[in-house]
């Protein structure tokens, strides 16, 4: 059997291919992005980046209504966006398998919040399966499609960052044949698929009954596994937490749940009866624990293990020792040395040459209140720029700024939003600005890509996920057609031009949009134009203005200015791209421009 070393994300893509998925749709989001990026290499599967997760899930639903296996993929907060679809899809079911992958991010490595999406499964009466490693990640995709078709339900495949971005050996399987002689007919079934109250009312008991059947199925589901060891301690667990638990309690008895909703009642009771003490080890919410409590079975979980953040073997071990489940002595030594807390921090930051920097230098200069959004530009909130004053979720900036306008504040204010985020959920908010008329100024930071998640294509890049040429939406035309009268386009590297455009928009009545355009410095075409600038040490007096733009390529040199006693600036030639933003802020003209 062929084996490959795959991340959980790559394994899910492989699993989708083997399961005969025909249509897959997603919107990028860490830690789920690599699933579709990998799947796009399988030419037999149609894969797309949709503009947002709701659209992606509707696309998958449509394909499944039309009789093809389909999958939608998103990060945890993406399911908030797609929740409306998720619920109707649960009620209607489909004609072929429908799997929704949610990638949760405990500890918020790359997210604005920490939410446990297993609740969505229970909320919408949809089964939830969770792999413990890459092998299961692949295999559970196939199992999920089978369950979906057997029970006429979407299936939620839930992974977490440590499954998505951890790799292990995976035994590959054969792809299921998807050949068909003729295109299938669309099967018309209005009572099942037209969700008006009368039809939905008839469907509701059907989906409640489906949960009961799934419960029975879970009793013998191959991925709900008992590993009997020492029966003094019984551990019920699922997902990545299984691995940490296995590491800390090598001898205990385990019930590993590959399906965490609905739960197999009899299997759990039997397991509970065979062990002296029963605990649940799970990341984030007490999702399994509370369901077991409802069965009237005595169990502990979150009284021992933390609710917030991720687990790992160290945390599980420490918690277990504290609760008296483990002796402190025979376990491996923990912490030879505590980390030095005085170390300079290294948070993520705007890259050298990032076009967003030019816009923030201008908004700072004008002392604007900035409603932010989600993308690389969110990092503009960090010192020394400190240019962003709120950021909640994708698409929020424009609505928030409109609300601020209506509430009236003393300062001038703007919204900033990236191109991909604007297409994701900014358009309805901007339509609202035009419709309900506020003086909101929106800056669309058009860096020609979806940068934060690793440079994915979007509706303005002229290319699809599968590499096909695509229509390039004209942001200016789109914005005008929504009813925005004043639309200006500037080069984001030109600080003066951004400032002038901002003044014009802020001084005029009614809504305005500035498209600050400049491609991300990390894109291949932009990289070819990198040129390092230099600083004339004679002219530099160490005033430090250039440090205030927060560019990693502008560093303090060892040379101190004799008069001011301050360190002179220096350019790191390995990092500098030559964007010239520092040269524009230098009051002493000490920094060279590209053609100087």
């Amino acid at each position: 059997m062929k084996q490959e070393f795959l991340s959980g994300d790559e394994a899910i893509a492989r699993g989708a291919f083997e399961a005969g998925v025909r249509v897959a749709a997603a919107y990028p989001g860490t830690p789920s992005t690599e699933i579709l990026e990998t799947l796009a290499h399988y030419q037999d599967v149609y894969s797309e980046w949709s503009p947002n997760e709701k659209v992606a899930l509707d696309v998958a639903v449509g394909a499944a209504y039309a009789g093809s296996r389909a999958m939608a993929v998103m990060k945890h907060v993406g399911l908030n966006v797609a929740a409306d679809t998720f619920f109707y899809a649960s009620i209607t079911g489909a004609e072929a398998g429908l799997v929704v992958v949610t990638a949760d991010d405990p500890d918020m490595h790359s997210s604005q919040n920490e939410q446990d999406n297993r609740h969505y499964a229970r909320f919408a009466r949809v089964p939830c399966v969770e792999p413990t490693d890459s092998q299961e990640a692949k295999d559970l995709v196939g199992a999920a499609f089978d369950i979906s078709e057997q029970f006429d339900t979407p299936v939620l495949l839930r992974i977490t960052t440590r499954i998505a971005h951890s790799s292990g050996l995976v035994a590959l399987g054969e792809p299921r044949s998807t050949e068909r002689d003729a295109p299938p007919e669309y099967r018309v079934d209005r009572a099942k698929y037209v969700m008006v109250p009368g039809n939905a009312r008839r469907r509701h008991p059907i989906i409640e009954d489906r949960v009961t059947q799934l419960q029975a199925f879970a009793e013998t589901f191959a991925y709900n596994r008992v590993e009997l060891g020492n029966t003094r301690l019984g551990i019920i667990t699922g997902g990545i937490a299984y691995q940490y638990a296995r590491e800390v309690f090598p001898d205990a008895s385990f019930l590993q749940l590959g399906m965490t909703y609905p739960l197999p009642e009899k299997l759990i009771r039997d397991f509970a009866n065979r062990v002296e003490q029963l605990i649940v080890i799970e990341e984030l919410d007490p999702f399994i624990e509370e369901q077991i409590r409802l069965l009237g079975i005595p169990v502990e979980g979150k009284s021992i293990f933390p609710l917030c953040g991720e687990l790992d073997q160290t945390i599980v071990r420490r918690s277990a020792i504290k609760a008296g489940l483990l002796d402190a002595s025979p376990s491996p030594p923990i912490e030879q040395k505590e980390q030095d807390s005085a170390l300079p921090g290294r948070p993520p930051l705007l890259c050298p040459g990032c076009p967003h920097r030019g816009v923030f230098v201008a908004t700072n200069k004008l002392k604007l209140v900035v409603s932010g959004d989600i993308g690389c530009y969110t990092l503009g909130f960090l010192p020394p720029l400190g240019a962003l004053h709120s950021c909640g979720c994708m698409g929020a900036s424009i609505g928030v700024a409109h609300g601020i306008s209506k509430a009236d504040i003393a300062q001038k204010h703007v919204a900033v939003i990236g191109d991909s985020t604007f297409f994701h959920s900014g358009i309805p908010a901007l339509l609202n600005v035009a419709y309900n008329q506020s003086d909101t100024v929106t800056i669309i930071l058009d860096n020609r890509t979806t940068a934060m998640t690793g440079h994915q294509e979007n509706p303005a890049t002229g290319k699809t996920l599968m590499g096909q040429p695509a229509h390039e939406v004209e942001i200016e035309d789109l914005v005008r057609s929504l009813g925005i009268p004043l639309v200006l386009t500037v080069d984001a590297y030109d600080v003066k031009a951004v400032e002038t455009a901002l003044r014009q928009c802020l001084d005029s009545e009614g809504p305005a949009v500035i498209v600050a355009r400049r491609e991300c410095a990390l894109l291949p075409e932009a990289r070819k134009q990198w040129v390092a600038l230099s600083i004339d040490a004679e002219r530099c007096n160490g005033c430090g203005l250039c440090f205030q733009i927060g560019c990693p390529a502008v560093i303090r040199s060892d040379v101190v200015d004799a008069k001011s006693g301050r360190a002179k600036a220096q350019i790191d030639v390995l990092l500098c791209t030559g964007c010239e933003i520092c040269a524009q802020v230098c009051a002493r003209k000490a920094i060279s421009f590209r053609d100087a």
């Binding site: 830690p31 490595h109 292990g168 912490e335 505590e338 430090g544 990693p552």
Partner: protein
């Protein structure tokens, strides 16, 4: 459950992912069960990053626990100090000579630690080796190959794994046009320790 745990640390976007890919593939080729945990996404934007690689007969957790790392490979000097709590007693720390001052140093008042401070911080735990990763990579033909210099240095602590195995994995995983530079960088690294 014996395992060998490698912690690769550095700054986002500077070659940790390629190095952890090579290290994992070598483990697989040598017949071990291997797990690897990486950071993608936001931290790749110039933040502090770490990759965990574990080799053993059977590996459960993809993460290395605190006090469980046998080797630390630091592609950036300051980052070596940040992860000292991950090392077991007697661990080997290999520290490259790349310095990337964080913004808190260039625009704030923080100081970048000197070599002595780094040595003091880590030698309390185990063995510390400085590797001239940038200089040797430059000698090999490209400073970006500093990650391969570090793997070369690491390879000397695992004599049971033949250099040919490392080299063949490197050939497979690096872009075709940079095979020679990367091979050379690995070899210079393996002679440096």
């Amino acid at each position: 459950m014996k395992s060998t745990n490698f912690l690769l640390v550095g700054v986002g976007g500077q070659g940790t992912l390629l190095a952890s890919g090579v290290l994992s593939a070598v483990g697989v080729r040598a017949g071990f069960d291997v797990k690897k945990a990486e950071v993608h996404g936001m931290a790749q934007r110039g933040g502090s990053v770490s990759s965990h690689i574990r080799w053993g007969e059977k590996i459960y957790s993809p993460l290395i626990g605190k006090g469980e790392a046998d080797f630390m490979i630091a592609l950036e000097k300051l980052e070596a100090l940040r992860y000292v709590d991950m090392l077991r007693a007697g661990a080997v720390s290999l520290i490259g000579d790349m310095r990337v001052p964080p913004l808190t140093v260039s625009s704030g008042g923080n100081a970048y630690p000197g070599d002595d401070e780094i040595r003091r911080g880590l030698s309390a735990v185990g063995d510390v080796r400085f590797v001239q990763s940038l200089r040797l990579a430059e000698e090999a033909g490209n400073v970006r190959a500093h990650n391969m210099v570090m793997l070369g240095a690491l390879s000397t602590f695992m004599p049971e794994i033949a250099p040919e195995l490392w080299l063949s994995v490197i050939e497979e995983l690096v872009p075709a046009r940079s095979i020679d530079v990367n091979r050379q960088a690995f070899q210079l690294g393996s002679q440096s320790c």
